[in-house]
Amino acid sequence: MTYQETYAGGRRTGTSSRHGGRSAAPVPPTPVLPRRGPGGRRALSALFWLGLVASVLPWWLDTPAGSLADTADVLTAAGRITGLVAGYLLLVQVLMMSRLGVLERALGGERISRLHRDVGATLLVAVLTHMSLLVVAYAEADEQSVLGEVGVLLRDYEDMLSAFAAAGIMVLVGCTGVRAIRTLLPYELWYHLHLTSYAALLLGFGHQFSNGAQLFPPGPVRTGWIAAYLLVVAALVWGRLVAPLRFNLRHRLRVADVVAETPDTISIYLTGERLNQIDMLGGQYFRWRFLTRGCWWQSHPFSLSAAANGRWLRLTVKVVGSHTADLRDLDPGTRVWAEGPSGTFTAAHRTRERALLIAGGSGIAPLRAMLEELPPGAALIYRARTPADVLLHHELDWLAQARQASVWYVIGSRDDAGPRQVMNPEGLRRLVPDVARRDVYLCGPSGLVEESVRVLRAAGVPRGQIHLATFEL
């Protein structure tokens, strides 16, 4: 099957576009985006450390100095500290996954998922340390064998059975989070295993109060700890249920059209109500759920490929899996459930006045949306394997003119002369002499992103000015 230049063969009938895409909405003269600095991020990080101190503080206050006389006491104390830390980190983990708007917009989904993985590893170690320290300490105090003590704990102590179950779940979830194991598992299995961590939250709840020395006696500590749990559950309900429900009832998004941009890339246009009231920025993404048979139970993050225009939303998707293949056959009128917007990959998060965008393949989508909102003088380097892989070509040319941006298409595989000339520090400086004084936004395949970061660092771009949009964990 051959495709013509406009790829009419891949387009469904009734699509009126000439170039495989609609012309973008007229851009208002100079919309100056107020910057969103790192203030929110710093406040959240301060809150995190404050919480950590607050959760260990009860132990510090409850323990008289010099009271840890023998080994069992020392082990118990260490076990209690790690237990308190683990309890706190578990709450943080769940809170980070609550999709709370504040977190999604202050930290961004990419940073959250990175933090979630790092905190997760720490949590796993803390839980295992907590368990082993206390079992050994109790065994010593009771003059039991370690295994015998486990039996005693399970039999004679309240809520310990569920606590052990919770630890088991956490170990399982933690192990499947390891990259090597995770790539072997189908996404759905991994996802559903991860959902069981809510059960860990529930199962681990009881033993903290029935056996926790710091949390057993009624008082401000116990009340505060319970309040923290309730807050996290409230955040979860709000971020996962109430806020999306409100958003979708308010905007009622539907598929308006599906357009083929290239043989393996489609753009989905959505319409809805009150679209001008959605507070979103170019470069942000939503998690989309297309309510058709076979698709409704999957939710995937896709960036918007056009800035807010009040009339329609567009996402541009590369067909890589069975889900994205199904998206090609979406009927106009299909309801869409969206959660978002999320992400800090926006023009508002820039630290300098000018920007350089580097896109690879379908990674152009968020950058194309962002280009509309960047101040004049932006530069775009678009890497693609063949000329046919260049997406939204006409829009980009048009935007380059309207926004006084320079656009370079760098075509060829990595070892071809053109890309090799550009993708090194000297080449970059030749194209963009002030590259070190620009914010650089990167979106594309991980190989390209990694290489670009290396080149950019070599060209003298500070790390704080490099923005990545990757969902690679």
Partner: protein, 194 residues
């Protein structure tokens, strides 16, 4: 991943640091220096057993574990005498600003029992017991749970001892030995306090 390793190392380091800080008697002593000098107004006889806050010479105890540790724990609580949880750095301030200097601490004798050795320390305002704590009770395992039960019932500024002002206490269920040892040391301490 690098951050995770860093975090885990940090966790291990800070946990050990906390345990060491609480466990070493040296730290308590530093914080205690100032109040100890001033608290000597309390009727502390040098004679072993009659006890007081200041006890510079480590006294060998029956259990033989960290003898210096116990007197240190007692000291910061003396001036503040607010609750069972005396945080050392708060102590000096409390001493200098306290309008009522009549607080004194009396230590009960060590009592050996089934699960270890304990002694009770009472804080009195005049002849009124305002605070009590048991020291040396095992903290882990099932005996730890018994210790917790006993401490929770008897000790503290609002425990049974402060309410009843005597050593005639209800025995804590499932912790008879601990209760008895506690009461024995407490009775002796009350007798000493006169």
């Amino acid at each position: 991943m690098r951050r995770a390793i860093l975090a885990i190392t940090g966790l291990a380091a800070s946990t050990s640091a906390l345990v060491v800080l609480k466990g070493s008697p040296g730290v308590g002593q530093v914080a205690q220096d100032l109040p100890a000098g001033q608290a000597s107004v309390a009727p502390a006889a040098g004679e072993p057993g009659t006890a007081g806050t200041v006890r510079p010479a480590p006294r060998p105890t029956a259990s033989g574990r960290a003898p210096a540790a116990r007197p240190t724990t007692a000291a910061p609580r003396t001036p503040g005498a607010r609750s069972t949880t005396g945080k050392s750095p708060a102590a000096p301030r409390a001493t200098t600003s306290a309008p009522k200097p009549a607080l004194r601490t009396v230590r009960g004798p060590d009592v050996k029992y089934e699960f270890g050795t304990l002694h009770v320390q009472i804080t009195l305002s005049g002849s009124q017991i305002v605070n009590v704590t048991g020291i040396g009770l095992p903290q882990s395992g099932q005996s730890g749970q018994r210790s917790d039960d006993v401490q929770r019932t008897y000790s503290g500024t609002s425990g049974e001892v402060v309410q009843k002002q005597s050593a005639d206490l209800n025995t804590v269920t499932d912790a008879t030995a601990t209760s008895n040892a506690y009461q024995q040391s407490l009775q002796a301490a009350i007798d000493r306090a006169g």
